[in-house]
Symmetry: C2
Subunit: 273 residues, 2 copies
């Protein structure tokens, strides 16, 4: 059961809109919260973005995204840490306690996937004190294994949990995105194990055939092959009661009128219940 | 350590060649074995294909492919069983004891991934007696999760092993393909658990960026991001001493002269040692 007040529109679903326009869209369609992206926030400034969301009567469900921790050069690694600290401060200023992490693929010039994973664990450990200070939780998101090489070597929910439980639950959790984890035979068991650690839940469907750019192979809930009910039930059973974000990267969705997109987003999530 | 006598060229790597031409290519380049595809075998007939390979002084490392077990209609399901029995008989006639399975995606019109997995387990169980009669092992291949919806819901080596161990090792094993499993944080542990069950080992590299058709995103060993050494070591530690097939689906490799491809295949696998 996803109560109407838990629905959030991730801004990536209407990526051509500014923060203000996206916030107004949510308000018009009785969508309670919005997931923001740092690039769009930077376009108007953090304070203006926070004011736009507040004036629209919304909450911010999460900020996307921190991460990209896998660098061989110390300077690049330090820059990533600083950037993630800045992202947590932005999240706090925007009124959300969740920073979504896309942790990074193989380090440039390296084929050592274990090294990349250790770099991520090290970076998260280094960020925990700043997360506690900011009152923001780092949400480790497992990305689909097709993004392992170049975006995120954390490729399954189980792996994200294994990483998160090394740190305090108040500072580090996991984000469950249906598009990235639906295929996993261990998903139900891992969701049970994620109890108390889920800090975000994102919905998008898997559309066939994959488009030429696999980053954009998502669709509205119900337009693809994912059976959302059992995943949503597993997330609920794990005790997650936070916002449910719809986050769709799709040229087709992006080319639709934003109001139409918002209507579809609401209807489809309601129909999950 | 992959001894030179264990190298096999999977015919898909030179897909424009007939069985006879591919067999002659292997003989010219001192490649000990060939992995055959049923479509190409059908083009010349099983007996002629067997003779071509024998006359070239080669062995057949495996036959691709059986599987596609996920059907809701009983007639389609029965047809798949019959087709897989025929495939095992072809494998035996060609002198290989390994039939590679691509088990099937979601059943048409269904989003029930657990149902698809049960259909696969049921079909394999039904085929075990015929496998024993033919002296052929069914090799369950985990396909990369990006193929889960439409080709194979068995998406990780662990899942393939969980399935295989329900049946006698003489009849059912797993095929390890680097392209499909390299991303998996559990790979090393699962390879250890696969001891006695590995019936095939296939090599292809993961090339960035993915091409528009993700089926074709493979490359020669060493051209991509996969660290083959640890995977080969894990396969060896699991006791696998059979053929090592190079199987590359790639427009770029297909458009290269076949002799050049064969040279590269040999060199790259030698350099793994």
């Amino acid at each position: 059961m996803i109560e109407p007040g838990r629905l959030s529109l991730n801004q990536a679903t209407v990526k051509h809109l500014s923060v203000t326009s996206a916030a107004d869209l949510c308000a018009r369609h009785d969508i309670a919260a919005i997931g923001l992206w740092r690039e769009a926030v930077a376009d108007c400034g953090v304070a203006a973005a926070a004011a736009a969301v507040r004036n629209a009567g919304l909450r911010v469900s999460s900020l996307c995204r921190g991460g990209f921790f896998t660098h061989q050069e110390p300077a690049a690694r330090s820059a990533a840490i600083r950037d993630n600290v800045a992202a947590m401060e932005e999240a706090a200023a925007l009124g959300t306690d969740t920073l979504v992490l896309v942790s990074g693929g193989l380090a440039a010039g390296s084929k050592d996937i274990s090294l990349a994973r250790r770099m991520i664990a090290d970076a998260i450990g280094e960020l925990v004190p700043a997360a506690a200070r900011a009152g923001v939780r780092l949400g480790i998101e497992a990305l689909h294994p097709m993004f392992c090489a170049d975006r995120c070597v954390i490729s399954s929910l189980g792996e994200a949990i294994d990483l998160a439980v090394q740190f305090p639950a108040a500072a580090v959790g996991v984000v469950v995105d249906t598009y990235h984890v639906w295929w996993d035979a261990r998903l139900a068991a891992e969701l049970a194990r994620a109890a108390g650690r889920i800090v975000g839940f994102q919905l998008a469907d898997w559309i066939l055939p994959l488009p030429p750019d696999v980053l954009l192979g998502r669709g509205h809930v119900g337009d693809g092959v994912i059976d959302f009910g059992p995943i949503a039930a597993g997330v609920a059973a794990a005790g997650y009661t936070g916002y449910v974000e719809v986050e769709i990267f799709s040229e087709r969705v992006w080319s639709a009128p934003a109001d139409e997109t918002a209507v579809t987003v609401r209807e489809r999530v309601q129909n999950l219940n």
